[in-house]
């Protein structure tokens, strides 16, 4: 396989072009800085997870739980006394989530009986739901300790004379349970949420836009430039297959996009204190999926057009449209629903969702499986279409 020779040569040529290098790194950094600093204030309140709570217990523990929820900044907690009315309000999408605390919740917990907190969610708001689930689970874990202790005391027949003694035992047990002796995750769930600043949006937003410029624009242009310069013919007459030539082009374009996106995220982290989340592997996977899908789109553009200038204008139109609709310039959730639906067709929307899930909600690899899956699917479609259009004559 000789595709690496082609790829290395491509990158060497790219690095010679100082303007291209500046365009790829410096320009996005300037724009990210300007947009992030200028539009700073607007974002703080924008991401709120609204949740409706029905407290059928009205006991000590349920009140404590509600207080706990209210103290969490990004949660917007409202109360509703009627369970059925509450369910309707979620169904009507007035609220995204509903928590129902069951009747006798406090008593059950104290007496060492099992109980169940229900969360009812609007399935379209995946990431918010996951975050809420994690918060509630975290709290429930603590309560479970109580129940387990009471059950243990009862099972062993340890004599307890008063409620006070039970509390004492529970207290001691809780001390041992903080932090939980067996940890699945090291962090407690709610502290994983980063701060949502303008940079949480604009760093990935503009980084994705510029990666699209790189991969669709520069990627397709580099292929057509070779055709126009005749160097492509030279390669075709050499003992190297077309697949290897195209493979080399794909590799170099992917590599450029990947490095660009990674550098811009790191820039955001060090200069504007952007939280990158705790899962670097997940971030790497997401960046790779974005670079790959836009490389695929670049190849598709290259085979659909015939000249370098056409490639230039088609990729500019594609990039700018996807960036506007897909949420590079403003968060997707401020767009009307039908635009949000259309946005699902763009690389940008899925990329931005993925970034929100990592940089803000910190959901890790599991939290971006859907986004990465869609991007990979897009990649397959783009490459498939490109190959079917590609004349091997």
């Amino acid at each position: 396989m000789k595709f690496n020779i082609i790829a290395a040569n491509d990158i060497r040529i790219f690095l010679r072009d100082r303007n291209a290098v500046i365009l790829m790194f410096l320009l996005p950094m300037v724009i990210i800085s300007v947009a992030g600093l200028a539009l700073g204030g607007d974002f703080e309140q924008n991401i709120q997870i609204d949740v409706l709570v029905v407290d059928l217990d009205n006991g000590e523990i349920s009140k404590g739980f509600i207080e706990f929820l209210e103290e969490i900044d990004i949660l917007d907690v409202d109360m509703e006394s009627n369970e059925f009315a509450a369910r309707d309000r979620v169904k009507d999408q007035e609220y995204g989530r509903l928590i129902i605390i069951p009747r006798d919740f406090t008593e059950s917990t104290m007496m060492g009986e099992n109980s169940e907190i229900s969360i009812i969610v609007d399935p379209t708001e995946d990431s918010q739901n996951t975050v809420l689930e994690k918060i509630v689970e975290g709290y429930a874990n603590g309560l479970s300790t109580n129940v387990v202790v009471v059950k243990t005391v009862a099972a062993l027949g340890i004599p307890v004379y008063s409620e006070e003694q039970i509390f004492e035992v529970v207290d001691v047990a809780n001390q041992f349970a903080q932090p939980l002796p067996v940890q699945v995750k090291t962090e407690s769930t709610s502290s994983n949420l980063g701060e949502f600043t303008s940079f949480t949006h604009y760093v990935p937003g503009f980084a994705v836009m510029f990666v699209l410029f790189t991969s669709i624009g520069a990627g397709s242009v580099s292929l057509l430039k070779e055709q126009e310069a005749g160097t492509f013919r030279r390669l075709v007459v050499a003992p190297i297959s077309k697949a290897e030539i195209i493979g080399g082009k794909i590799t170099s374009t992917f590599f450029k996009g990947f490095v660009q996106l990674a550098v811009l995220m790191i820039f955001g982290h060090f200069v504007f204190d952007l939280n990158l989340g705790s899962d670097m592997l997940a971030l790497t996977v997401l960046i790779a999926a974005i670079a790959l899908s836009s490389t695929g789109l670049g190849l598709l553009v290259a085979v659909m057009v015939t000249t370098k200038d056409q490639a230039d204008s088609v990729s500019n139109v594609l990039t700018l449209t996807m960036s506007a609709i897909g949420g590079s310039w403003w968060p997707l959730f401020i767009e009307p629903q039908f635009m949000q639906d259309i946005a699902r067709l763009t690389i940008t929307a899925w990329a931005m969702d993925g970034f929100y899930n990592l940089l803000y909600f910190d959901l890790g690899l599991v939290g971006i499986l859907k986004e990465v899956g869609v991007l990979v699917l897009m990649t397959i479609i783009f490459f498939g279409l490109a190959i079917s259009r590609f004349s091997f004559d």
């Binding site: 000789k2 020779i5 082609i6 040569n9 060497r12 040529i13 010679r16 072009d17 310069a229 005749g230 160097t231 013919r233 030279r234 390669l235 075709v236 007459v237 050499a238 003992p239 190297i240 004559d393």
Partner: protein
């Protein structure tokens, strides 16, 4: 088919969406010769060689190179031919050495062998000292030399050059000729295209004349000139030719062909010198104002006019 033919082309046809660019061409190239395809722009020369070097698929016909069929053994053929495209097909922001190194790797070379080969080629084309400069700063002739050097990296048995002397200053042209001759002496078979008869006359062992997609003659220079026989060519430059002048000239006894292009008239005739006075008389009496008149011995130009009725050089 000839046994010592290294390339054998039979009934080659290439159509582009209905337009026939190559129209049933057949010829053999002998091992070790320099063969030139001579013809005006648009004759189909580039199309023919693009097919030979596997860039284009023929519409029909058969091409055998060194025993390999072009439709089946593409890869075997690619290993033994070196192609010099008409345009400079190089990376302009890379240096000569980087260009050579890249293509050498594409041809599967590496390490010492690669280094040795690239240095030898730089030396051969006389650009060792400029080897690390970007091509951007090179003159046209220097770029062309590297363009040729790249085609020689894998020691091809056959070298194919498309218009190697087009747009080249006389000095570079001489250098390119020398290089081609030197390679040919080492046993490389050369196929080149040109629309300039000087290239064909000076360099080629045999010349194939191509016009409108057809091969209309193939022989040595002497053989071709014999076809014209005794004809001479008279070029007349005027300030404007009357419509019936050409007809009057055609009436002259030994005149074979007359063609008119703006104010220029080309006359092909036998015994040119003896007939010159009569021609001038006819021109003047028809009211043509003659600016200059030139008589030439038979050459490829004459031959082309003889065969096609049009001038090679427009």
């Amino acid at each position: 088919m000839n046994n010592d033919a290294i390339i054998s082309v039979t009934n080659l046809v290439k159509r582009y969406n209905g337009f026939t660019a190559v129209d049933g061409v057949s010829f053999d190239i002998k091992r070790g010769e320099i063969l030139g395809l001579l013809g005006p722009n648009g004759a189909g020369k580039s199309t023919i060689i693009s097919i030979l070097c596997c860039l284009l698929k023929p519409t029909s016909g058969r091409v055998i190179i060194n025993g390999f069929d072009i439709e089946k053994n593409n890869n075997e053929i690619k290993k033994i031919i070196g192609v010099v495209p008409q345009e400079i097909s190089l990376y302009h922001t890379l240096s000569a050495r980087e260009n050579l190194t890249f293509y050498a790797k594409v041809y599967g070379m590496s390490g010492k062998a690669l280094k040795k080969k690239t240095e030898a080629l730089l030396d051969m084309v006389g650009l060792t000292e400029r080897a690390d400069d970007r091509l951007e700063g090179y003159s046209g002739g220097m770029k062309r030399r590297i363009n040729i050097a790249v085609a020689l990296l894998h020691d091809p048995e056959i070298l194919i050059l498309d218009e190697p002397s087009t747009g080249v200053d006389p000095q570079s042209r001489k250098r390119i000729y020398d290089t081609i001759r030197k390679l040919n002496q080492k046993g490389v078979t050369v196929l080149l295209t040109t629309h300039q008869m000087e290239d064909a006359e000076d360099l080629c062992d045999r010349i194939a004349i191509v016009d409108k997609g057809k091969l209309i003659a193939l022989d040595t220079l002497h053989g071709l000139l014999d076809m014209v026989g005794q004809s001479d060519i008279i070029h007349v430059m005027t300030k404007g030719i009357q419509p019936d002048t050409a007809e009057s000239i055609r009436q002259i006894e030994t005149v074979e062909k007359v063609s008119v292009d703006d104010g220029n008239m080309t006359i092909q005739l036998v015994h040119g010198r003896e007939m010159l006075a009569g021609i001038i008389d006819t021109l003047i009496s028809s009211g043509t104002r003659v600016e200059s008149i030139q008589i030439k011995e038979p050459d490829l130009e004459t031959l082309f006019l003889h065969l096609t009725g049009t001038a090679l050089r427009k």
